[in-house]
Symmetry: C2
Subunit: 774 residues, 2 copies
């Protein structure tokens, strides 16, 4: 049991390191040669160019204006200044709403912390249970525990205070959640309504086009939609399996980088031609002349790319049974995306097309039939990942406890007994061990999501975030609580009754408060402060800048602003929601630590979003239902655990009153789901019609077809002109491709009856003349 | 533990009673004066008229042709003769598919029974565990148990046979289920495609029309759909709150019946005027002249009805914020029903309109906002109903056991010890006690569903069926297994671990086989045979015929053919699926009893559907996903219980192989859900377009508007001309009501911008002229 002094030390260390990070950041960001690392967003927007070239040489790299160093925390108010509307325009709705998650944390926990400290802490503190226990049973407890529910005697009437507070906290959380959901839904709808014309508003992704012996995929798609959406269909773009091509382009780029590196090296040191080895990473294999070797490689790849490009364009096998279909109106697209097209529900599957830059192209080539199997495999794999990853964590944590170390390595006892080291081990090691384990996890989860076949980056990230949260919940939260107190419980845990489980966990919760406090300080204070340093991009930028950059354009490419990283960031925030809600009634002493996290993270991420991150896509806050859902889960978990804890405290006359809470919370969730979620998954026809009508009135003669024609071309074809000059004909081919192809159908075997209508060039069905106007 | 002799006796009793029912049925149905009770379907179809009037008087009432009595089981082959296609035309798809549930039972269990008897029974029988136990531990067991898994020694390798058979049974069940789902989905689609023009194909029910200060609901609906579905909107019909009116009409009908009854009485006995009392059921209160009293009442009600009708038609408050909106094409209706209309997902809610005769009118008047609360209340109420209903059943059952009776009433011991009575108590009482309890349940569940606010009869019945099944599962199945063996276990049960529960139940299952066998015989054999007698309709018909019938039309109304009763029938079948699947591996001796049920019920219900039942609505087999889902649930339950049973048998090396089964089964369910369920909940646009196009080609000048105008008028207005003559003007009013009303809107506060377009009479939006044809 860590004492207040231990926590004080850990806090001091973490505050100090956060402070150091901020100072270093303040120094680094003012240096002109780091400008592109700390302000890439502005460069990408074209609002900032490289630092003035005119000044003295040193000025270009080092900021010698000492006045600017004095106000080293100046960036904080700057970050807070930009109003939200401007932020949405500057960085997109996703980023703006992402910041609202931190605000949500503050909105929920500031009043909660105030209430808890004014009511619960006095109620807890004015007992002497722990003192008595310490005197008679020789049970030691820390000062933190004196502020917690542990200090209340068994079967005390004071538990009513905790139950009433649990109700108050639940209602407050739900109230804030509801208001926030409403605000975000409105923001999303306004954002969608105010957006300028975008390809995804008019487009639908069709998958699983059935094979047809008479017609190509492109013809089939055209005929199908001309028949079934005659008034709305405009054009379409088939999906090519260009994964191999994309890989070749990537490989060529890598070779080009090596070539640039060696050329630069040669320019700087003309005396000897650079050499390289052909083997792995240039470390083994035959030694050859680097310049010749890489020039050859690049040329070879260029040829391969040209051949592959030719093949993709001409080979019908490289056309996937999928297409992006565009409509004349948003209304038509909304209708098509939200209805079933074909009698067989696994054919002609339509869904909203993601924003073009949001499309994850490699997965479009996955045949739809394998998707369910992939999902099953990944569900099983994730189950094993979650439950077997637990063993090493628990092992390390049991080592990192004082007893564990003394048992494993008794010779260390004299060192451990030194007060400072003891505090260090207790305050730091468990958190770090956990953190190290978790560093590699997001990548694994992202690979799993990719394998599952999601077709947009945003859905990939959302899926990974869900899994990451589940993982955190099972391993970090439950794992720390149970394994920390007794790893042996784990096995018996599976065989416990459902009413026993909350008791076991609930009982262990107050004891683990100090552990989670140190965890918050390491992960949530120092970790967030380190984020602003951008250490990895900084190093990579300077390495690239030194070895590869020849032109201004290269320097632009060397910037790696990164993005929010929803798949790791959001589960992290959610973990703090979980901790906060669980400990709000149990150990209110934990709340201030969480408040510091939310406040700090809000400022840091607002700064990063304004100055650094370059969001890859815009999903218009499609992630909010997930955020909301997970806070609700945390709320229900906190209620169940409080119930379990109370049950062990023999507060029999007050405990049953907690049962109504989860029921009410779940009902609240269902209400919110019905009321607000549709704004995130559907597109109301009224909105579509309104936007269509407005646009038609404003710009009656816009050529929509040319606008939509190439919106959903694989980026490898789009960026083609950057690399090669000989692909104009390919582009042209793409342009011509969707003029009307007369049907080559010889039999009607595979077509529904009305298909013959589509053989005429214009789909003008005879109108039924109603004899009365409505 | 019941012996083979007990079961034999019970079987004999039940077979005998079934036989008696059939003989009585054979005699009754041949009597001409019962013709309308046993062949009402043919009368309703107009294919059969009252028996010939020409013959001798006796002939009209009694069939004296003795040859027709000899072949008294003749109706069975007759019932099986009609081919399925004809059956669909004769009785609708719902009935035909309902019969397929019985066939499904036969398809699943016939091969299963054969396999189980050739493999499992020998494996079980060739052990002597029970003999040894009987010898050494003085544990008695019946002969049935010798054929069951109980006869296999602990930790025997023979359990492999059961596990392999569990796999075989699962795969067979899934195979049959899949094939059946496919067939039914196809039948549904073909039925929908081949149907002639029907109002519900073109109509959508809109609920929660927002209030508007400037426009009436009717105007608002018209403008909204003219704006948002300009090319497809045809007409609409607002929903009136005519519940009070319908009640008055019903009351008048009842009074009219009393009047008729007294008039008839007076005609038969002219000597004295009939008297009645004004109080409850004519039993108390002042004595008055019956004829005068009821004539007065009927006149008074007629006036009230006329006034109420006037009020409903003129008072804007009696118009609900809901409407049936009809479209020019099926495509337009399909689009509108399956998309969200408005930014606020709780306004302008659209869904398929049920078939006009399927609409449950009283619920259309429920404001939408109260629906979620009603659902929550009913969920809680159902929970309590399910878990508190359990106590009386368990109490009666424990009484009905021999020990129970001897304990409560020791003086009965000499009577009970008589062999015959002992068998009777064991074979009959538990089943009857249960059955009595369950008789009143469907009505309660139906009332609950109505309270929840479903708007179609079919959904009401489906919801009730789901609840009834859950109730049966918890109370009859689990209740009989656990309460029967030890009612005291129930309380401790809640506190058991999830891995203990299957063990507890699994262990008790083989012991309860004989109970369920008697249950099947009482409920499934004799009960089904009694169904064909139509006892209740027979009595009611003859009572009405005697007291009320004056004209041929009255006689027509006195017929009560009833309908299938999906809400009670389907859960009953499902219960047999559950029993069959659970006992297939444990006590195969139970399977033949279930086979007899399925076979007998199939024949009986086929006969009833052909000759008797008059289905109130046609939902085109919309219930099949529920049926499929519940069989899957039964399958998973059977697997879990087998797992639990095995775990208690110490078959440690073979038990883990069962775990894969539920996972595979659930995956199979998800696959089926994705593949087949959309056919039951959505309407593919391709189908809609095809049918539209075909119809347009065949009948280009049909006046759809006049066809749809009054399709969704409340039946109380439609049948108005039967009762009154003075309502022609009201009807006319209804006809005129939906001609175009120029907007009375003075402000634009509540309308979206494009609404002004709708002020012109024809919604001709300017077309955008694309410069290239797709």
């Amino acid at each position: 049991m860590a004492t207040l002094a231990d926590i004080g030390l850990a806090a001091a260390i973490n505050i100090l390191s956060a402070f150091v990070f901020f100072v270093v950041f303040a120094v680094l960001r003012l240096q002109p040669f780091n400008d592109r690392v700390y302000f890439p967003k502005w460069y990408l927007k074209g609002l900032r160019t490289s630092p003035a070239r005119g000044g003295p040489f040193a000025r270009k790299f080092v900021n010698l204006d000492f006045r600017s160093y004095i106000k080293f925390l100046n960036w904080m108010p700057d970050a807070l200044k930009m109003p939200e509307q401007e932020l949405i325009e500057h960085a997109g709705l996703d980023s703006a709403v992402y910041l609202r998650i931190y605000l949500l944390g503050l909105k929920i926990f500031v009043p909660m912390a105030l209430l808890a400290w004014t009511i619960l802490v006095p109620v807890n503190y004015t007992n002497n249970t722990l003192e008595l226990e310490a005197r008679y049973n020789n049970v030691t407890s820390s000062d933190i525990d004196k502020l917690s529910i542990s200090n209340i005697p068994q079967a005390s009437n004071r538990f009513w205070a905790h139950i009433i507070m649990a109700y108050v906290f639940t209602f407050w959380t739900c109230y804030v959640l509801r208001k926030e959901y409403e605000t975000v839904a409105l923001m999303r709808l306004q954002f969608l309504a105010s957006e300028r014309r975008r390809a995804d508003q008019f487009s639908v992704l069709v998958r699983n086009v059935p094979p047809d012996p008479d017609e190509s995929v492109s013809e089939l798609v055209e005929h199908f939609f001309l028949v079934n959406h005659p008034d709305h269909y405009l054009t379409h773009q088939v999906v090519y399996n260009a994964n191999k091509l994309a890989e070749l382009v990537k490989k060529k780029k890598k070779m080009q980088n090596w070539l640039d590196y060696h050329q630069l090296k040669y320019t700087r040191n003309n005396s000897k031609r650079p050499l390289t080895k052909t083997g792995f990473l240039g470390l083994c294999g035959n030694q050859v002349d680097a310049l010749d070797h890489y020039t050859l490689e690049v040329e070879k790849l260029s040829k391969e790319i040209a051949a592959e490009r030719e093949k993709v364009a001409s080979d019908p096998k490289s056309i996937m049974p999928a297409a992006f279909v565009s409509f004349k109106t948003r209304w038509g697209a909304a209708v098509c995306a939200q209805t079933q097209q074909c009698r067989n529900p696994t054919l002609w599957l339509t869904d909203w097309a993601p924003e073009p830059r949001d499309v994850y192209w490699p997965n479009l080539a996955i045949p739809y039939v394998s998707l369910t199997i992939r999902r099953l495999i990944m569900a099983v794999a994730f189950f094993f990942l979650t439950f077997f990853f637990m063993i090493p964590i628990a092992f390390v944590q049991s080592l990192a406890s004082l007893d564990g170390i003394e048992k494993v390595a008794p010779f260390l006892r004299p060192i451990i007994d030194i007060g400072f080291i003891k505090s260090f081990i207790q305050g730091f090691l468990p958190g770090i061990a956990l953190k190290l384990f978790l560093i590699f996890l997001p990548t694994i989860l992202m690979i799993m999501s990719r394998f599952e076949g999601f077709i947009s980056l945003s859905s990939l990230e959302r899926r990974s975030a869900t899994r990451y949260y589940l993982f955190n919940f099972v391993n970090v939260f439950l794992g720390s609580i149970i394994a920390g107190s007794a790893f042996q419980q784990l096995n018996s845990f599976i065989h416990q009754s459902p009413s026993e489980i909350p008791k076991t966990i609930g009982m262990a919760i107050p004891q683990r408060a100090t552990f989670f406090i140190t965890y918050i300080m390491v992960d949530g204070w120092a970790g967030i402060a380190a984020e602003i340093l951008m250490l990895k991009p900084l190093i990579i930028y300077h390495l690239k800048n030194f070895f590869l950059v020849k032109t201004e354009k290269d320097r632009e490419e060397a910037m790696d602003p990164g993005s929010i990283g929803f798949n790791t960031g959001e589960p992290q925030i959610q973990f703090y929601f979980l901790l906060g809600l669980v400990y709000a009634t149990v150990t209110p002493a934990l709340l201030p630590f969480i408040l510091v996290f939310f406040g700090l993270a809000y400022v840091v991420f607002r700064h990063q979003i304004i100055n650094v991150y370059n969001q890859e896509y815009e999903s218009a806050a499609a992630f909010w239902p997930d955020v909301h859902h997970r806070v609700i889960v945390a709320l229900v978990v906190s209620q169940l655990l409080l119930f379990g804890l109370m049950a062990t405290k023999q507060a029999a006359n007050s405990t049953p009153f907690i049962i109504a809470l989860p029921v009410l919370t779940i009902y609240f969730h269902m209400f919110c789901k019905g009321r607000f979620e549709p704004a995130f998954v559907r597109y109301p026809l009224q909105e579509a019609m309104m936007k269509d009508t407005l646009e038609r009135a404003r710009e009656p003669h816009v050529n929509l077809k040319s606008f939509l024609q190439n919106a959903y071309l694989h980026p490898v074809f789009k960026s083609a002109d950057d690399d090669d000059e000989d692909d104009d004909d390919v582009d042209e081919k793409w342009d011509n491709e969707s003029v009307l192809v007369p049907t080559k159908r010889s039999s009607r075997r595979n077509t529904p009856l009305p298909s013959r209508i589509s053989t005429t060039s214009s789909p003008s069905l005879p109108e039924v003349h109603e004899d009365s106007q409505p």
